[in-house]
């Protein structure tokens, strides 16, 4: 068949077929387009945005651009303070950041990595405007009134030659001018530059630059910026502070992920966090183990029920199915609260046990605010997700298989175990995946009945999203959770085979 088949109108048959199918495909696409769009906008994009936050770290380089640049030449391993240009850069950055009010945000970001930085930045933001650098301003303005003229400054700073001669000044002036326009709503041509611009000018002059109008600065006593910073807080003399800033100055960081697995960046690379700060690995393991227990409980409790439902007449099965689905129709919060009422130490179950005499009154069982509570409540909530796929798979297993097995000489148990059970495995698989994946990300129930010992990793994620506002860490924890689930899914596929999962039919 080297030649192409031709349709009745002489076109190649393939082309005709494609043309006929294109219309169908287009219609199919139109039908799913609204949902696709909705999912993209409301689900896929936010997730990727969130995942991106787990590595994103532009806040340091955006808030402290000059410091970040200056710190590049600093040898962090020497455990010595950076030199003056870094302090000068930090002075400029901090004054501007204080005006933009972004220094507190940066403080809390860096506080995740080093406790105390948050308050250091807040304090410094207030104090940085009161540095003794007005000495330079006065010196310049006294030497020549032109230095106090905003219009003159604007003219100088528009001149490329002068800008090239005074790089620090130009940079500081630009930052100041931009801030003035956007924050203060003033024009630079009408405002006298602030102290840090004169400080930069002084630094340029000290570096041997030609000033637009020569000024004799020999009489001016230099201001030590390092000492000024020390005056605010002695922490500025701690090389670790600068180390932290330098370490987290790149735009992208692995810090959140390291934090998620109880590691941190130390002086000699990655190292374990102090023991009292290690919580996430434990939480991940606990989440896994408890989700597996819940899954196991659901299989044990759900299998007999699904079997019963599958073997009853349709009428009765439908009625019992309503009972299975009933939990879906009540609010999750109500159900969880009901468990609180039942399980607490003064609760119904304990009361009954005491009344029967199984438990002493002064030794009531602790069934809530621990792992037991979480497992009980979540097994109850997730049970329908196990029963439904099991039921629909069992429904498709004809009863004649069991009869055949028995007629061939198998006992009830052998017939079940060797003939019925293997055929219900796809249902168990589907139920397990559903329950496990739902359990691993559960949040409300562990929060309400889990106490401190029975909470999941998702509770921690929620805490970082809504309370500590450490979204980067929350995103990293969420990403790890996602990867772990996918990994388990992959392992499951390798062992059981994903085609062996059936939701029915």
């Amino acid at each position: 068949m080297a030649e192409d088949m031709l349709a009745a109108d002489g076109r190649p048959l393939k082309a005709s077929l494609n043309r006929a199918l294109r219309r169908q495909k287009l219609r199919a696409l139109m039908l799913i387009a609204p949902l696709l769009l909705f999912i993209m906008v409301s689900f896929v994009m936010p997730i990727f945005d969130m995942l991106f936050r787990s590595v994103e770290n532009q806040i340091v380089s955006e808030t402290l651009p000059r410091t970040t640049l200056a710190l590049q030449d600093w040898d962090a391993t020497a455990a010595q303070l950076p030199d003056d240009p870094v302090f000068e850069a930090m002075y400029t950055d901090l004054v501007l950041a204080a005006e933009y009010k972004s220094h507190t945000r940066l403080g809390s970001r860096l506080n995740y990595e080093m406790t105390g930085i948050s308050s250091l930045f807040r304090k410094s933001g207030r104090a940085v405007g009161r540095f003794d650098t007005d000495r330079y301003t006065d010196a310049f303005q006294e030497a020549d009134p032109a230095y106090a003229d905003p219009a003159q400054w604007a003219e100088w700073m528009a001149d490329d030659e002068i800008r090239a001669e005074l790089p620090r000044t130009a940079d500081a002036y630009d930052g100041w001018a931009k801030m003035l326009v956007s924050v203060e709503d003033e024009l630079p041509v009408e405002e006298e530059p602030w102290d840090f611009v004169y400080t930069a000018l002084y630094a340029d002059a000290q570096a041997g630059a030609d000033l637009p109008i020569s000024v004799d600065l020999s009489g001016v006593e230099p201001v030590s910026l390092q000492a000024q910073f020390e005056d605010i807080d002695e922490d500025w003399l701690d090389p670790d502070v600068w180390l932290t800033i330098k370490r987290y100055s790149p735009d992208y960081t692995s810090g959140y992920f390291l934090n998620s697995v109880d590691l941190t960046k130390g002086a000699d690379g990655i190292e374990a966090r102090p023991e009292n700060e290690q919580i996430y690995i434990t939480l991940f393991i606990r989440t896994m183990i408890m989700s597996m227990s819940i899954m196991g409980m659901c299989v044990l409790l759900g299998y007999p029920i699904a079997w019963l439902l599958a073997n009853l007449t349709d009428r009765t099965a439908n009625m019992l199915m309503i009972l299975v689905l009933l939990p879906f129709w009540t609010s999750l919060l109500v159900r969880t609260s009901a468990w609180k009422v039942l399980l607490q130490q003064e609760g119904v179950i304990n009361d009954i046990l005491v009344w029967i005499g199984l438990v002493a009154d002064n030794d009531r069982l602790q069934m809530i605010n621990n792992q037991t509570g979480t497992i009980i409540a979540m097994t109850h909530i997730l049970l329908p997700f196990m029963i439904l796929p099991l039921y629909s798979v069992m429904k498709t297993i004809p009863p004649s298989y069991l009869r055949a097995a028995k007629s061939l000489g198998a006992t009830n148990w052998t017939a079940f175990w060797r003939v019925y059970f293997p055929q219900s495995v796809p249902g168990i698989g589907a139920g397990c995946i559903l329950v496990f994946i739902l359990a691993i990300g559960y949040y409300i129930t562990p929060e309400l009945v889990g106490g401190t010992k029975g909470v999941f990793i998702s509770n921690r994620i929620a805490y970082h999203i809504s309370s500590s506002l450490n979204w980067g860490l929350a995103a990293a924890l969420g990403t790890i959770l996602l990867v772990v689930v996918m990994l388990l899914y992959w392992v499951y596929d390798k062992i059981v085979g994903i085609d062996n999962v059936k939701l029915g039919g």
Binding site: P398, S400, A404, A405, L408, G409
Partner: protein, 364 residues
């Protein structure tokens, strides 16, 4: 049939009810000698499958005894009865290969591996499926699956095999081949077989005896030829093969023959089967191929009926003619396509008659 002595399989006054109000099986008595191929034939809901399930042990009799080799098996669970069974939908275990399916009954009987393999091979060869041991049931055609199901039911050498409409899902040609194979196998191996079907051709061609079920009772239990030619009641006459029925009143009984006055006024001769006295209403049954056109081959005093030809159908080997006789217009006669046979034309008026022994006066 109250005696069950010496029978291999026996139902003794068995009754079965599911709801406690109606009986699905009413007072069933049946006994089968060893090696017999017995078919339970009947319309759906007649109780034949229920009987089979009671024999297999999946249903319990509400009343009466079921005996296997002289021993009551009412309280023996299915897996201890040692009865092979073939199901309508084959019921091959989909997660096991053909060999594993066959190995299953041997494994639960704790038979050693080498012996198992030998038996599996023999059973597969028996159904000409020796090359398919490694396949999964889903990879086989319907006929192949049914062969495997048969081999599985036979591999543990049961003395009794039950088959529940095993060929129901197959096409006609395959069904005929397998009918032949199953009967041959059953006779070769000398196993006793109870076969359930609603296909009368299948029942007639395969069985030593056929039990016709209706309304929870065995209407007639007889070898196929007897069943066809000498039906004992009008249900059997209607159910097996094609049949013409004329209704009337018994006018005279004289030993082996009787005279029946039809509702339309005509008089005919018949064999009294289950009519006992003059004046009783009866349904007279006559097979289409036993009707004669003209007096030539009948006795001189035979009663004849006038008939009008309504339709003539040429079917190759036979002609099928529909007539209006004694007020009914679906009277069928079948004549062989022999050289001397005339082809009737619609509208023609002919005289028809039959040997009195071919015409049976049954219950009304």
């Amino acid at each position: 049939m109250t005696s069950t002595d010496g029978a291999f399989v026996a139902f003794d006054r068995v009754q079965k009810s599911y709801d406690g109000e109606t009986l699905v099986v009413k007072d069933l008595n049946l006994s089968m000698p060893k090696g017999e191929f017995l078919t339970m034939l009947g319309p759906s809901g007649s109780g034949k499958t229920t009987c089979l399930m009671m024999l297999a042990g999946f249903e319990t009799a509400t009343h009466g005894d079921i005996l296997l080799d002289g021993v009551s098996i009412n309280n023996i669970p299915p897996h201890k009865r040692g009865i092979g069974m073939v199901f309508q939908n084959y019921a091959l275990f989909p997660h096991m290969s053909v060999a594993e399916n066959l190995s299953f009954p041997l494994e639960v009987r704790k038979i050693g591996k080498s012996e198992r393999e030998e038996k599996i091979k023999r059973a597969l060869d028996m159904v000409q499926m020796g090359d398919f041991a490694g396949r999964r049931p889903a990879q086989l055609s319907g006929g192949q699956q049914q062969r495997i199901a048969l081999a599985r039911a036979l591999v543990f050498e049961p003395e009794l095999v039950l088959m529940d409409e095993p060929l129901g899902a197959l096409d006609k040609q395959l069904r005929e081949t397998l009918q032949f194979e199953i009967t041959n196998l059953a006779h070769e191996l000398g196993i006793t077989t109870v076969y359930v079907t609603h296909d009368q051709t299948e029942a007639l061609t395969m069985s030593d005896r056929v039990a016709v079920f209706d309304d929870g009772r065995i209407q007639q239990l007889a070898p196929p030829d007897e069943l066809y030619e000498l039906p004992e009641n009008s249900f059997v006459a209607q159910f097996i093969g094609e049949n013409n029925t004329l209704e009337g009143v018994v006018q005279e009984i004289k030993g082996e023959t009787c005279v029946v006055k039809l509702d339309s006024g005509e008089i005919i001769d018949a064999v009294p089967v289950n009519v006992s006295k003059v004046g009783e209403r009866t349904k007279v049954s006559i097979r289409p191929e036993r009707v004669e056109i003209g007096r030539d081959r009948l006795e001189a005093d035979a009663h004849m009926l006038k008939a009008e030809v309504l339709e003539f159908i040429y079917m190759g080997d036979i002609f099928r003619t529909r007539l209006r006789v004694a007020g009914i217009d679906n009277f069928i006669i079948k004549t062989r396509n022999s050289p001397d046979q005339t082809r009737l034309k619609p509208g023609e008026i002919v005289e028809i008659g039959w040997m009195p022994r071919d015409c049976r006066a049954l219950d009304a």
